[in-house]
Symmetry: none
Subunit: 70 residues, 2 copies
DNA sequence: GGAAATTTGTTCGTATGTATA
DNA sequence: TTATACATACGAACAAATTTC
């Protein structure tokens, strides 16, 4: 399975299990790059999956957050 | 060779030749951006190289300085 | 006390090139 | 050809620390 899908699955699971509750800030791209060892490109693709699903929203200069409705 | 490595090499050479003696302040990121034409991102990566080498230290709000031991 | 300017720190947005499967 | 993945590079917004007026 592609790395970005793996990351998306992992983050989705963390949202579902409450590690990242609604409106919580996800780790930054830089942090995820460091923690996963993936390239930023790959990390962003993973986040993009959750973005497409409406599970998270992104604020430039601030970070990525779990959607409130969640 | 990557630009940030080029910049790191250049600054290291200026430290070594005494242009920037120990404890001297290096040009600010903004100045280096202007002088080199590189993006801030690239300038910061160049400085990060010297930081990793312990050749400089950075004080937020003040600037980047040549390490005293140098 | 406060406001502004300077400077570094952090974060996301975008684009290009390269390599591999 | 396409998808995946990484590295480099530039841009933009936001944040925090420091100094100066």
């Amino acid at each position: 399975m592609p790395k970005h899908v793996q990351l998306a699955d992992y983050l989705r699971a963390r949202i579902d299990d409450g590690t990242y509750p609604p409106r919580a800030k996800l780790p930054s791209e830089a942090t995820l790059v460091q923690e996963t060892g993936f390239a930023r490109d790959t990390v962003r693709k993973g986040i993009a999956v959750l973005l497409d699903e409406g599970r998270v929203y992104v604020v430039r200069g601030l970070g990525t957050f779990v959607s409130p409705a969640d």
